[in-house]
């Protein structure tokens, strides 16, 4: 019984990132209440602390790139000449956004989060790296996706739109996902990671993390919001122009103490997983 406990840990830290995104997406970005702000501020100071509460997210980050690369390997990219355009939705302190911006084949990264505090943390941290200061490489916006102007031309759209550890905190994921879709360039990918709604995840996130170990405040997780892979699949199958010709990929991942995060085929059925879907060219 190692796995449940592991994903409990993975999840509670993962949560740190999704928490503030929670209601802002569901309602409006100005409705953040004071308890959330202070809870978040406590998190913000340790966002980039290698031993802080976001440690597991930091450790997971390389796998996100591995997953994106594996999606690109399925369908070789045509626009990579000028470099890839990334949109990171719910960017938090910028763990993924910074790393994407440093990659040699990246043209630009736009990273958004509705919480003012995290965007501030992200901007402060990006000051530490001259590469990230290069004009156009990395831009943080304190916005929810609904506040972002919907691009009309493919060159304004993105090759990669990422939603890491976000959808499980959204009350109306279908509405939310629908508003993300127009940002993906034809031939580009929507990439997300989340956690499945299973007995294992209920046990690890609700019972172990919240009740038994008290790692996160009670009620932080709303298990009923967790989304299973087949639900995502059904959502995209209902969309026109997505995932044709094998343009879809799912892969589970699990955190093993002492070893780190590992991709596990089939892991999407009981814990954390990545989901990638391509917009038909």
């Amino acid at each position: 019984m190692v796995a449940p406990r592991l994903s409990a840990l993975g999840n509670c830290s993962r949560l740190a990132r999704g928490f503030h995104a929670l209601r802002s997406y569901a309602t409006s970005s100005s409705s953040v209440n004071p308890t959330e702000v202070s809870h978040f501020n406590a998190l913000a100071s340790t966002w980039w602390d290698p031993h802080g509460s976001s440690r597991l997210l930091h450790l997971m980050n390389p796998l996100r790139h591995d997953f994106i690369s594996s999606c690109h390997a399925l369908k070789p990219h045509s626009t990579s000449q000028e470099g890839l355009r990334y949109l990171d939705i719910g960017c938090g302190g910028g763990i993924f956004a910074e790393s994407a911006a440093r990659l040699p084949n990246t043209a630009t990264v736009t990273a958004i989060d509705p919480s003012m505090g995290v965007i501030e943390v992200a901007k402060q941290h990006a000051r530490k790296d001259p590469i990230l200061q290069e004009p156009g490489r990395l831009e943080y916006l304190n916005k929810a996706i609904e506040d972002l102007e919907v691009p009309q031309l493919p060159k304004e759209q993105y090759d990669v739109v990422s939603l890491f550890e976000v959808v499980e905190h959204i009350s109306t994921p279908a509405v939310f996902l629908t508003s993300c879709l127009p940002f993906v360039k034809p031939g580009g990918w929507l990439i997300l990671s989340t956690i499945a709604r299973t007995w294992t995840s209920w046990l690890t996130t609700k019972v172990v993390a919240e009740d038994v170990m008290g790692l996160v405040p009670r009620g932080t997780h709303d298990w009923s919001k967790y989304i299973n892979e087949h639900q995502l699949r059904a959502f995209f199958e209902a969309q026109d122009g997505w995932g044709a010709n094998g343009g879809m990929k799912v892969l589970g991942c699990v955190y093993v103490p002492g070893i780190g995060w590992r991709m596990v085929a089939g892991g999407e059925r009981w814990g954390n997983y990545f989901f990638g879907i391509r917009r038909d060219p």
Binding site: P50, R55, H58, L59, N61, P62, H65, D66, E98, S99, A100, A101, R102, L103, T106, K123, Q124, R127, K128, D129, P130, Q133
Partner: protein, 489 residues
Amino acid sequence: MRARVPYSASRAKFHPLWTCHARQPHTRYATAAPLRPEIYDVVCVGGGPAGLTLLTAIRSTPATSKLKLALIESQDLTPARTWKLPSDQYANRASSITPKSEAFLSQIGVWPLIDPTRLQPYHHMRVWDGLDSSSQISFSSPSSPIATMAENSNLQQALLQRLEELAPFSTFDSTKVASIEDGPSPSSEDSLDLSSYPSLTLSSGEKILARLLVGADGLNSPVRTYAGIPTRGWDYERHGVVATVKYLERNNHHGDNKSVIAYQRFLPSGPIALLAMPGNYATLVWTTTPSKAAKLKTLAQEDLVALVNAAFRLDNVDLEYMSRLDGGHTEELNWRSRVAGVEEDEARIPRWVDSVQQGSVASFPLRYRQTDTYVSSRIALVGDAAHTVHPLAGQGLNMGLADVQSLVNTIEYTVKHGGDIGDEMYLDRYNREMWMQNNRMLGVTDKLHKLYGIGWGPVVGIRSLGLKMVDQLGPVKGWLMKQAGGIGT
């Protein structure tokens, strides 16, 4: 995983020599024209085998080949570039390069540039107990060599040559690191913040900044001191005496590489080893007490030759007696070996040493050191800066090369995943991979040293029984040999 020393606190208080001025006002930066010091991706302090290999490996790896690099070395590198010795002379500092190290050096394009006429592979090892000569253990590896002897200068020259083939980088040689402190505080609330970047002041007065600062700066590593990483260990009260020796010429012998043997005998004061160099030459490494080492260095050439020959032939009691003499060792040895009836058999003991190369006798104090961690934020330690091992297993340099290989893999992984190469969380991959592995090697060599430092009856009996058993136990022997050849783990 070991607990880390609190970073800033320890930096400030650890060693006054390498100060941390982060919290003092940076008037220099504020008043003078704000000309920012050059920022390098990797600054390597130390151009020994570990440091040069690091730069070569970074340049030879496609993903990391474009990183901006700087090397700081206190010595002048010109003599190392132009190093040349006639074929009847060998440098006294030679190391046995394991097949694993050789494979790595080949992979980064260095091995083909090493002067092959000055390399000596060996396929056999003879190891025995100084107090019980009957318990000899022999290792053989018929197909591939156990290891290859190479002069450190030969390796260093090949590394420098290889680096010249690759993209240029900044070399500050004949330059010392004068001080290391935290980088400048940002000039305004939203300007670039380099305060976490180590800032080095060179003896030339120049200042440079490092995204990742690598300490390949040997035993007394200034980088390690700056990082406040404690190192633990002890001095062995032993010195390693090294020299280049020449064997007596042999009649009608066909030099066959496959028959070359490395010899090591464990005397109570430490092991003595003869490691073959090409032709009739060999490198002597004799570990002994500081007073005996001092004595060996003052002996007349022929007396030293006699003592070396005695050390592989006579009982410890006779040897102890001989080493107290101030001269006349040759006659003493002739007499004693005749009485003892030493049987000359090259398969068991080395041939007679004939001479010692002029000026090649030198000695080094031996130490055991392991740092608590090899990494901290924007810092990595490699080679002797990270650990120092007893030379009895001939692993010091090889461990440094393995560190470099692992660190460069880590840097490559970081670059490929968009990380900051100075990020401790990525650097930790290197630490996790190498710390335990090195600790095991350090422990084994230390225990061997201690075990063989005992001259007490029962222990000698047990350990020679051990050697005999090992010799008969194929798998155990195979494992030991793999360790010696670095192909284990």
